[in-house]
Amino acid sequence: MFLAQSSPFLKPALSVSKMMRVVTLLMIPGILTATYVFGYGVLINIFLAIIFALSFEAIILYLRKRPIKVYLNDNSALLTAVIIGVALPPLAPWWLTFVGVFFAIVVAKQLYGGLGYNTFNPAMVAYAILLVSFPAQMTTYWQTPIMMLSQVNGQTLSLLETINFQLFAQLPDGVAMDALTSASPLGIVRTSILSGAATISEIDAQGTTFGMLGGIGTEWVNLAFLAGGLFMLRKGLISWHIPLSLLATLGFLSLLFGSFELDSNPSPLFHLFSGATMLGAFFIATDPVTASTTPRGRIFYGAGIGALIYIIRTWGGYPDAVAFSVLIMNMCVPLLDYYTQPRVYGHQVDNDDQELP
């Protein structure tokens, strides 16, 4: 007797483990850029998030009597942790990460049945819960981007000082929280425009908000994530549908509304290269488990996220909107999948159209 098995017998091209690992690795350019711009807090966030995520995952797997090693090796918890780590404010206290990762891994993922069964993107569930529960920490603990330090007379923390602050909430002597942090470009634009305090040109004149493409500092992070994302596309790890439709819709809407009232609407480039746009478009919205699965469904899904990002950023209650947009579109996935099924070969054929050459 030889090994019996059903066809096909070729070694599979890819594994979940490798897929998640490569996606995580392709976030490194963005992570390094973010660290350069926002300080060591980014790395510490990621480090803490990974430890918390793997621990939670292992505990729940143990309780659910699942093979721990097999599922930890799938690297999905790792990827979720890294996304949470990047998304959180760089000076986030440790317990913020802890609570976030708890909701992501335990509630949003494992309680729904673990890998593959969750309806909502775990990292975005974490982000949304934290944003609603701890709005102060989530919006103000953003370290001043390194490009702006001289203009605002800001201060930075060394690695040890950052660790000390994040773990024990102790700032070095003579350093105040206000001197460390500054509002995000998206936040500045939103509050100024909504309250009528300043127009786009007035904000621009201050020189502390707009960079070359998008918001100061975040534009570089966005560019780095764009690079990683394009590489993923090239490698065939994600399809073009979601990122392209997301970015195109966001760009189109900002162009459309910007053309009505130029001075109260930032440019499409600002929307594309600020906040978490590129991270969201390439690394978050493309999460296979929670995204639409049909080609047309993916286009609607991405476009929906893009439109919601624009709507929430412009008229909503929060400066950035990737998390809420992704979660809302997660809810639409079953509907999208059902109504966008591709035409199957040999069904509703109109062969007369095709003339032989």
Partner: protein, 607 residues
């Protein structure tokens, strides 16, 4: 290497020359061919086996009916079993010798089934029976116009009869009796003949070497097939990773007017390289790539005026017509890590696989899996002590680590790589969910029966889920359920008939009882009358007494007749109901058989 490069270049220039428009099919996967191991050597010949085991079912349809018996001496090429019905094919002896057994023996089958086989102990002479070719081979082994004219002198019936008698079946894997297919195509006015020379599965090279080494046989076989179906044009679809085979065919048809565009006429035969992407050689995909047409779901290529045949089938047709030889051998690719010298071998049907492998240098200790067919659509054999059949195009003997092992499957992460790879635009992950949940209705809503089981989704799946296995399971379950439903219907009908019959019998009984009672009452009345009359007789004797006695006798016999008629009626009713019952049974069975046949047609025919 450089020569290959040059030939590849030639292909691209010839594409430009022909400007043949190609379509594309969705999905598909890029797989490494692994073809160079076996396609470099010339075709070797298998040694005559000591014993040949020839299964009687090597085709779709009814098993052939044996006309030989144990102890008979047979010659090579002699018919062993007749075709049994319209969809069937005869089976011939692939060597000379004595028949030692006609019995159930293990045959190559995914579940290790046994089937009726004729066993021949070969005598070593390999003596041929007298063959009757339709065309003499001697001076026409070139594809000249003259040979085209020779072919035109034959009638379709003549050629098709020769094909039927040679036991030729679809050698691309479908195993459908070719003569039946050609006959249908002839009647349906098929305008395009597509010859499937794509051979898209990794490892398999038997079509490739056939085209390289015997291109004339292929082309002449194609001309014969084309003649029968009456197709206006013929397209040979060949994957662009076979430049040598392409060149061989091209040089074979070049120089003759049927191969080139003349001023008015379209070229009769066109050789068209198609991009190598699995499963470009699937019948439906090849049709789509070459013509842009889609075979309607549940239909046949003939519904869109196309007929597809495999190159190897064409070569078999050539052999039947030009040499009068039945299909008693085929080219088998023997490859894989556990084979010392991978090669293609001409193997007589019925040769034990073990003999074939040993001849190619089997390293017994290295065997991990034995696969008949390719690594995408073949199946694993549990034993190598089974014979080579008409279906055996490839024997892939893998060593450890060469092919996948079934590791634990991870959960589906809905990445839709399976859907992206599906050449039929199905949604494999949805079908998987429903098949797993055994929601057989829903899985059919997602068009399960359009799945060609190419294996692309399983290959693409990062979670290592054996998707195709789930679809096979669901298909079998649905078919079983259908059968059960039919059975239940029959049982219900039978029950109703029985009830009716019992009711009738009851009524008849009651009627009989009533009659008997009446008779009894009459008799009593008669007796009473008699007694009275006898009492009267005592007073005065009369002649009328005898009269009344005779009358009562007549009444008695009338009653008896009626009773007999009632019994007969009851019996007839019973018989009728029984006869109806059996009639109904056969009808349902017939329907079931028809359904099974259409299903089979649907799922088969992928190379």
């Amino acid at each position: 290497m450089s020569q290959t490069h040059l030939q590849k270049k030639n292909i691209s220039t010839s594409i430009k020359e022909n400007l043949y428009k190609l379509w594309s099919f969705p999905g598909g996967i890029k797989v490494s061919g692994n073809k160079s191991q076996s396609n470099q050597q010339p075709i070797s010949t298998a040694k005559t086996a000591r014993q040949l085991i020839i299964p009687l079912t090597q085709h779709i349809g009814q098993a052939a009916e044996p006309i030989v018996k144990v102890g008979d001496k047979v010659l090579k090429g002699q018919i062993l079993a007749h075709a049994n019905g319209a969809i069937s094919a005869p089976v011939h002896a692939s060597g000379s010798g004595v028949i030692t057994a006609i019995e159930e023996l293990p045959v190559p089958h995914p579940s290790g089934l046994s089937a009726l086989c004729v066993v021949i102990d070969t005598d070593g002479y390999d003596q041929w029976i007298e063959c009757t070719p339709l065309i003499s081979e001697n001076n026409t082994l070139n594809t000249s116009n003259q040979s085209q004219q020779t072919i035109n002198t034959l009638s379709n019936e003549q050629i098709n009869k020769q094909i039927a008698n040679a036991g030729i079946v679809g050698l691309g894997g479908a195993l459908f009796p070719s003569a039946a297919k050609l006959h249908t195509a002839e009647k349906m006015h098929t305008d395009t003949l597509i010859i499937n020379a794509a051979e898209c599965e990794p490892y398999i090279t038997c079509d490739d070497v056939l085209m390289r080494r015997r291109p004339e046989e292929v082309i002449l076989g194609i001309l014969l097939i084309k003649k029968i179906v009456g197709a206006k044009k013929c397209l040979i679809g060949i994957e662009d990773n076979k430049p040598e085979a392409y060149q061989a065919l091209l040089s074979c048809i070049s120089g003759y007017n049927f191969a080139h565009k003349t001023n008015s006429a379209e070229p009769q035969i066109e050789i068209i390289p198609v991009p190598a992407r699995y499963p470009a050689g699937g019948e439906k995909q090849l049709i789509q790539v070459l013509t842009g047409k889609e075979v309607p779901s549940g239909g046949l290529p003939m519904d869109v005026g196309i007929i597809c045949h495999n190159v190897t089938t064409a070569a078999a047709v050539y052999q039947a017509v030009y040499r009068g030889e039945p299909l008693i051998s085929r080219i088998v690719t023997i490859t894989g890590g556990a084979i010392k010298t991978p090669q293609n071998m001409e193997v007589p049907i019925g040769t034990p696989i073990r003999d074939v492998l040993n001849q190619a240098g089997l390293q017994q200790d290295k065997i991990e899996k034995v696969i008949m067919g390719g690594p995408m659509m073949g199946f694993a054999l549990s034993s190598i002590d089974v014979p080579v059949t008409k279906a055996t195009n490839c024997l892939l003997i893998s060593e450890k680590g060469e092919l996948s092992t079934p590791p634990p499957a991870m959960p589906c992460i809905r990445c839709a790589l399976c859907a992206d790879s599906c050449p039929m635009s199905l949604l494999p992950q949805q079908m998987y969910w429903y098949a797993k949940a055994r929601d057989l209705e829903k899985v059919q809503d997602y068009n399960l029966f359009d799945c060609i089981e190419c294996g692309g989704c399983s290959y693409a799946c990062p979670s290592n889920i054996p998707l195709v296995q789930y679809y096979r399971y669901a298909k079998t379950e649905i078919q079983n359920e259908e059968r059960e439903r039919n059975k239940a219907n029959i049982a219900r009908d039978r029950h109703e008939f029985r009830e009716e019959r019992l009711q009738k019998a009851k009524l008849a009984k009651a009627e009989a009882a009533r009659l008997r009672k009446e008779k009894l009452a009459k008799k009593k009345a008669l007796d009473a009358e008699k007694a009275k009359q006898e009492a009267d007789k005592a007073d005065n004797s009369d002649d009328s007494n005898g009269d009344s006695k005779e009358k009562s006798k007549a009444a008695d016999s009338a009653d008896l007749i009626q009773e007999a008629i009632a019994r007969a009626k009851a019996k007839k009713a019973q018989q009728q109901s029984q006869r109806k019952n059996t009639e109904n049974l056969t009808e349902a069975q017939q329907k079931q058989i028809d359904e099974a046949n259409t299903r089979r047609r649907k799922t088969s025919q992928t190379d």
